[in-house]
Symmetry: C2
Subunit: 263 residues, 2 copies
Amino acid sequence: MNDLIHATGSDVRAACRAGRHTGPTPGLALGYVHANLVILPRDWAFDFLLFCQRNPKPCPLLDVTEAGDSEAKLTAPGSDLRTDLPAYRVWEHGELVAEPTDITRYWRDDLVSFVIGCSFTFETALMAAGVPVRHIEQNVNVPMYRTNVPCKPAGRFSGPMVVSMRPLTPAQEVKATQICSRFPRAHGAPVHFGDPTAIGIRDITKPDFGDGVEIRNNEVPVFWACGVTPQAALMQAKPPFAITHKPGHMFLTDLKDTDLEGE
Amino acid sequence: MNDLIHATGSDVRAACRAGRHTGPTPGLALGYVHANLVILPRDWAFDFLLFCQRNPKPCPLLDVTEAGDSEAKLTAPGSDLRTDLPAYRVWEHGELVAEPTDITRYWRDDLVSFVIGCSFTFETALMAAGVPVRHIEQNVNVPMYRTNVPCKPAGRFSGPMVVSMRPLTPAQEVKATQICSRFPRAHGAPVHFGDPTAIGIRDITKPDFGDGVEIRNNEVPVFWACGVTPQAALMQAKPPFAITHKPGHMFLTDLKDTDLEGE
């Protein structure tokens, strides 16, 4: 796995395709964009595309395939979304039914794949600017919370915004807002800071997903729209069939983090 | 019509609905977002939504309705897209068949409406910052050109990017880039300046749409992605049925131009 740290996105995809890498991707292919993956049958695709379009902060679309096409042509030419992730989750009617490392046998000609931006992109930029990322310092998963902030519904999809949290001093929060504003396709600027109850979070020490992290006396919790939001909407809508990446086991694109800067 | 200059977006919609206004909208409801409109049957909507998602500079989506819903809920609550524009164009198989001021009798339960950002938003910001907009000074339509820059195709939709042109000095171009970068949902920053042939424009004095404008010795032509692009893609794909706004006769939203700033 160490050889994949300074590898390209394409190298990591090849390692996954060959079965040489089946683990999480944080820290791999430094500087390349890691992405969330959601795959749905075509008759659910319009509603989901509209859900993403209406909720760009939690669901920033990087690439959407034509039905049946397993190549992410715009973000990773030559890729095969059926084999190039380390691990997947297969869902039926909102229930997890399998966690394979290859979805070739599940593939259908009516499947549309959605490649969605990921917080790893802005975390790299934060650390490069000297803004600390606590869960990386503590070597745990980022804390994530369901909020009482509703996403804008679209067709059969609805649900609360899920947020991730990083503790920062006020000066760091200002810097983080400036940096993350440059990455609208990686969740962009924070959506809230300070009082967790203002967005329906009862106990900041008990995240709904991931792990709790230390918040120091001079810090406030800072909240970003999170890529778990589309998965939560998916589980609520319960389409008969869906495939996602396994959490932390992302799709590596050919995009560099810097490609996501600006418009 | 003069009373509509300092009116709200909602006032202009009401005037259109009552048949009191059937003319162009430039200059009306100052500060409110004017928008392009494309209406398609549901079985064409996914491809078009994907086309817009892949080509956000020419096709910046502001609002997309559910099939059959004639209200632009997110950008203009209470609106009726069948009556609230001054004039429409009805298309069959890529041919213009009617230019009504009301499309109630054409309405179908499978129609999806796309509300798309418009250059009026950034032109207002340019003029407020002292950057001249030549076609407004000369009181003509903005010059627009087909380029040889292909849009990213999506399903049945493809075609060249259409651009609008405004002549600026180099210092004004820099300022315009800074200002327009703040409005990614109103075509954003320019896509080119200088040599027109570099993007396939043979004769700058002969625009494909709109009117020619003067370019002074100290100025370069500056090109922006243009909202005519989606209409050109539509005409090329020739769906059996489509409705658009009549050029210059835009949909007035409740959004303020400043709402489109940032992410």
